[in-house]
């Protein structure tokens, strides 16, 4: 399931990280990121997401492997590379007593960019922080504080942006808002790598999805391809009269009788809508054949189900 990417903006090969106190956070990660895409890295707590980002951004010294960004080795060309990378970490961490605009200016300067008030204004306006620019950060709401973190990371106009759990602890409305802003960044050509717990987030925003667990990438693929490959529709018809065996007319469908013949269950489709169509056809066929049903419960498997399945499968394989 490894897709070869030509001319990646980020090329990670065989990345290892073992912490001094024992645990292995990254166990040989290979990952290539396309220029201009939004890549979502999914994984449970402690999977290695933050360590992986830390290794690229200079917060973590890898124990082995290579990382190239923009075609440059990040150790040898750390200055050039870091100037083009932005990082929004998970935790809110800045000088709480400082004013919003000053913190953003500070970040821009630290990354070696010439002062540019126009650019600072643009970033603050895009994140709806312009009205709050002279407020001390500690007075802002949690969501606003998170935006300040993003504003700081965008102040030097990075080509590659890392968002570590960008919407953790953010309410639903603000989350939608943030998705919109991340979408706008992509429009401007910024490549975005985000980690998330929320599968919904990956489903909504990402072009590609990678699943990481126990320091290993279990799979990376286009989101739609994953859905097509692993997505399923499940529909349960509650029959009016229990049946002992399947009528021949329904033999072409992936259906089975369950609950002593009281339920007819469809499991099929491919995550692209095929399942829904087949369930609709199946319902018509049931009516045509005079088979009555009193209830219908249908749902598509989400990326979440796929993800949980993959993680479980991965753990089984590792145990074996």
């Amino acid at each position: 399931m490894v897709t070869q990417i030509t001319d990646p903006i980020l090329d990670i090969r065989g990345l290892l990280k073992t912490y001094a106190n024992g645990p292995t956070a990254l166990a040989g990660v290979d990952l290539q990121i396309r220029k201009g895409e939004i890549f979502a890295l999914l994984g449970p707590n402690g999977a290695g997401k933050t360590t992986l980002i830390g290794a690229v951004c200079g917060l973590v010294n890898p124990s082995g492997g290579t990382i190239e960004a923009f075609g440059l080795d990040i150790r040898k060309h750390w200055r050039e590379v870091r100037q083009r990378i932005g990082l929004v970490p998970q935790e809110l961490s800045f000088d709480m007593f400082d004013k919003v605009i000053r913190q953003v200016r500070y970040s821009r300067g630290m990354f070696g960019c010439a002062p540019d008030e126009g650019k600072i204004e643009e970033v603050l306006k895009a994140l709806s922080l312009w009205d709050k620019r002279d407020e001390p950060i500690r007075k802002l709401s949690g969501g606003m504080k998170r935006r300040v973190m993003i504003a700081k990371a965008l102040s030097h106009e990075p080509d590659l942006l890392f968002l570590d759990e960008p919407t953790a602890g953010v309410d639903v409305e603000l989350r939608r808002d943030m998705w919109k802003q991340i979408g706008a960044l992509r429009e401007r050509g910024t490549t975005i790598i985000l980690t998330t717990h929320y599968i919904e987030e990956a489903e909504e925003m990402a072009d590609r999805v990678g699943v990481i667990n126990k320091g290993q990438i279990l799979l990376t693929d286009d989101k739609t391809a994953i859905m097509a490959k692993l997505g399923r529709t499940e529909a349960v018809f509650e029959l009016a009269e229990p049946m002992t065996e399947l009528p021949a007319a329904l033999a072409t469908y992936p259906v089975a009788l369950e609950d002593a013949g009281r339920k007819l269950v469809y499991r099929g489709g491919d995550g692209t809508g095929k399942g829904k169509r087949e369930v609709a056809e199946l319902a018509q066929d049931l009516t045509r054949n005079g088979i009555g049903y009193t209830g219908l419960d249908a749902h598509e498997s989400s990326l979440e189900d796929i993800f949980v399945g993959l993680v479980k499968q991965g753990e089984k394989e590792m145990a074996a």
Partner: protein
């Protein structure tokens, strides 16, 4: 070299200082003024100037008090400067920025040294109100003060990186620097001590610092001036070396 980055850090650190300017300046100035009033004016009037190279006792203790302030302010400013982002997590930005050892030293250590120089200047001016002192070698005095401020700001920076709690930040200035400064001849000439204490005092590194500065003020001191300068310079080089090593290995910085 990312000069803009260095300046951004320097400005940000100085801004932090000016945000709490009254507390930062008033407390050392008040403490030093009290020393001068109590020891210099009240008690010092009864001391025999011949024991202090012919200068009044008040003038004798001014360089010692400047050194006391320089050492504690430079060390604590720099250690807090780098410890705070470590504590809040804001250090992530520094580590992910195109900022290396040179930029960090210019920014953090430069700002800490500047802060303590501002305070030292204010104390010098304040002391003049109470004591009639003169400076024999003004250029060397300024040079030496800058050298000491920079050295101990570097030392404080290392301390701030090493510390993993507020307690450790306090321990070194309170339990090591302050006693050594008091025992190093801030308030007396080591020649006044009986043996073995006058010999023991020679093993106190701060003794050389205080006497180096005192020489630039009065033209006489308990140690050769070359030794004091050389000693301070060696300490500065050592601290730069340690910081360079820290950045290379990522000790206490990168996981």
């Amino acid at each position: 070299m990312n000069m803009r980055g260095a300046i951004a850090i320097l400005k940000n650190e100085l801004m932090r200082f000016f945000r709490t300017v009254f507390g930062s300046i008033l407390s050392p100035v008040l403490t030093t003024s009290l020393y001068i009033v109590v020891f210099g004016a009240a008690i010092g009037g009864r001391m025999d100037p011949s024991q202090f190279g012919g200068t009044s006792y008040g003038a004798f203790i001014v360089p010692g008090l400047i050194m006391l302030t320089l050492l504690s302010e430079s060390t604590s400013n720099a250690s807090f400067g780098i410890y705070m982002p470590k504590f809040t997590g804001g250090i992530y930005e520094l580590l992910s920025a195109p900022v290396g050892v040179a930029e960090t030293i210019i920014g953090f250590v430069g700002a800490a040294a500047m802060k303590s120089l501002i305070i030292a200047a204010i104390i010098l001016v304040t002391a003049r109100v109470f004591v009639d002192y003169s400076i024999a070698h003004p250029v060397l005095a300024v040079g030496y003060i800058v050298l000491v401020a920079a050295s101990f700001a570097l030392f404080g920076f290392i301390l701030g990186l090493w510390a993993d709690g507020f307690e450790k930040l306090q321990i070194v200035p309170m339990l090591i620097l302050m006693p050594l400064t008091f025992l190093g001849g801030t308030f007396y000439s080591v020649q006044m001590l009986a043996e073995p204490w006058s010999t023991v005092a020679q093993f106190n590194p701060i003794f050389y610092l205080i006497n180096g500065l005192r020489w630039t003020f009065t033209g006489s001191s308990d140690v050769p001036i070359g030794l004091a300068f050389g000693f301070t310079l060696a300490f500065l080089v050592l601290c730069v070396g340690v910081i360079a090593w820290i950045f290379k290995t990522g000790w206490r910085l990168r996981e």
